[in-house]
Symmetry: C2
Subunit: 399 residues, 2 copies
């Protein structure tokens, strides 16, 4: 049987709520999911300001945290109800809602105090959502992973596995956000065969170079236009290829502290005399190479064959970057999430719907190898405030 579920995501950018209605069937390793409808709900300026305020240690307070937990629950409930109206469905059609909540605190390491624990705090009470929608709600996933000794993140690797596991094709699911990250999903793969690591910079270096050469008027290389008209400079390419991160064996993670402004300062110091377009072409080529070389070195080179690369994130809208990645991976299909029926913008909200689906079936929905947990857990809490929403939720188990 298939079930209808709604996934909700409120990201750290504090812009608003992504809601997606999906149809799901099957189980881990052979799961089918299709997007039926999606909608975004923006936070008001007041809501955004308050969320930022209570997420900051110096300005947060007990009463506001508790009150906002309820306010967001209602707001999430409204987002669900608006999506339902847009889709032509009613609550009675929906088996469950799955909500990430909004993170106001996340501390994956222990503090110094004797009572300190690793901890995370997502607000947007699931009972409030359930009461506002008359649908069972799963949410607050990260705490269980952290209880098991994990960092409560990333959850994306497992979501990529659920979304893209295939009996015929081994896939590299590549996100190109600020940083690049790959989840390797071998064909017919088991959960313990999934690999995931940060490949290096995503758009971070390209964006910063474009920002500087455009006199701070452009923030990214729209449609890859700069790069396409430039010429690759071998000296700069060799310089960047020497970066030590590229040699480190996975698992590994990186961030803005490694590939941010400071790194680009180094480029301009030695190669600032290059033509603007050549600079962008070269860092774009290099970004593509950090991805494809890491596949060759750490995946294909270790007998993890790749049939297909599926790219998402902002970088998937840079056709030049995609071309260069494909160029360096002859014989491998290179596509984007849209080729599989959905925008990667929706992946997080879809992903939480899938985590909720696994939870309600009583099946593990986390990868210890990705989060660092010392054992597998079923993440998520469940609330069902009415007997009929409870009955629909039970149907997820296929009873």
């Amino acid at each position: 049987m298939s079930v209808l579920a709604i996934g909700l995501m409120s990201g750290t950018s504090v812009d608003g709520i992504d809601a997606v209605l999906v149809e799901i069937s099957g189980s881990e390793g052979d799961l089918q999911v299709s997007v039926k409808e999606s909608a975004g709900t923006a936070y008001t300026p007041e809501e955004r300001k308050e969320l930022l305020r209570i997420s900051t240690e110096a300005t947060s307070d007990l009463q506001s945290i508790s009150s906002m937990n309820f306010h967001l629950g209602k707001k999430f409930g409204e987002a669900v109800n608006e999506l339902l109206e847009k889709s032509g469905h009613t609550a009675g059609d929906i088996h469950f809602v799955s909500s990430h909540g909004h993170t106001i605190f996340h501390q994956p390491y222990k503090g110094d105090g004797p009572l300190d624990e690793t901890n995370t705090l997502q607000i947007g009470d699931i009972s409030v959502i359930s009461d506002a929608t008359n649908i069972a709600v799963v949410g607050d996933f990260r705490t269980a992973d952290m209880a098991a000794g994990g960092h409560g993140a990333p959850l994306t690797s497992y979501i990529d596995y659920l979304l893209f596991s295939n009996s015929d094709r081994s896939r590299a699911v590549q996100n190109i956000g600020g940083i690049g990250n790959v989840t390797y999903v071998p064909k017919n793969g088991r959960r313990d065969q999934i690999l995931s690591f940060d490949t290096g910079p995503g758009n971070m270096v390209i964006d910063e170079v474009v920002y500087r050469v455009s006199g701070q008027t452009e923030t990214y290389d729209k449609d890859g236009r700069y790069a396409r008209e430039g010429r690759i400079d071998d000296g700069l390419l060799a310089f960047m290829n020497e970066h030590e991160y590229l040699q480190v064996e996975p698992p590994k993670t990186t961030g803005r502290e490694v590939f941010g402004s400071h790194f680009v300062d180094g480029i301009f110091e030695k190669f600032g005399h290059l033509d603007a377009k050549d600079l962008v072409a070269t860092v774009s080529e290099w970004t593509a190479l950090t991805i494809t070389d890491s596949y060759k070195k750490f995946l294909i080179g270790k007998d993890n064959e790749i049939d297909e690369v599926i790219i998402g994130g902002g970088g998937s809208y840079n056709p030049y970057l995609l071309e260069r990645i494909a160029h360096h991976l002859p014989g491998i299909t290179v596509g984007v999430h849209e080729d599989h029926g959905f925008s990667s913008d929706l992946k997080e909200a879809m992903g939480f719907a899938l985590l909720g689906y696994q939870c309600l079936k009583g099946e593990y929905n986390q990868l210890p190898s990705a989060t660092g947990a010392d054992h597998s857990v079923i993440m998520g809490k469940v609330s069902f405030t009415q007997p009929d929403s409870f009955a629909r939720m039970l149907a997820v188990r296929g009873e």
Copy 2:
């Protein structure tokens, strides 16, 4: 079938955790529960200090709230594991744990801000408890009632109904804490026939008078000794009987602001010349009368017959008070919780086990008439971090 469950309570006195192992069968209106084992776990001075600090708006902070949510989850988990060891059971015998959590904020009214909502915040993460025990955990009950427009309290009336509903006997379940409160459970009664109100003072006036006449050396009338040697003063009795609260029709609630120090000041002002024992005897007699007269006026007088009174709370250990209540209710059985197999000290922890039981069966576990909610809800969130704890939890439904 019957199930084994563990109830956990951490009260506002911040002393520690009450844990009780109970066997439960049946359903609302005909529910059987028996206590198998119980244990208390005290908070360390550091834990108590920290809980008080983070429950106070001026001293609370975001990081400590989030960290303590995890610390208490682990502590609750230890309380469960210690109770299991004491009882000779293992996690595999237990169908679920049900935890009230520890309340660090409760605001049953809206603030002035545009984003303010009624709200409540209980900590002691249920996923952390589940991971620490390998048992499914229900908890965080009050939010659903508040989402439905209720005050998130009192939950006791419904618990009294579950515990004492009987096909043959109509019962008044009387708590005598600082304040007196009755839950009326008619024989064969439905949930919408339950009545509950504060009868007036519980031990509050007796304790304050004893404190003053003993030169601040005694805090309560141990075994009713003062009262038993005193003589009831008709003038004082008539004076107190004029208190307007006693005339107000239920539903009604009262508190320390009505029957605290200020009220006792009034007694001493006019009757301070009386003998110490006479004073205690008279306020004890009056306290008994506030209870029995309220039954006669608001229950029996309105065709709500009473076969049996079941008294709990600190006042149930004052034999003089019990005698006087029985004296004024001829033909009605007057007993204590212990007559029904458990101390009223365990009632809260037992009660939350029962609320969890109802939740897992997908049945309402709240009384809108008691909390002010505008509709019935199933309170509680559920977490089950392992497939085997999930399976045992499902068995509660009698599958």
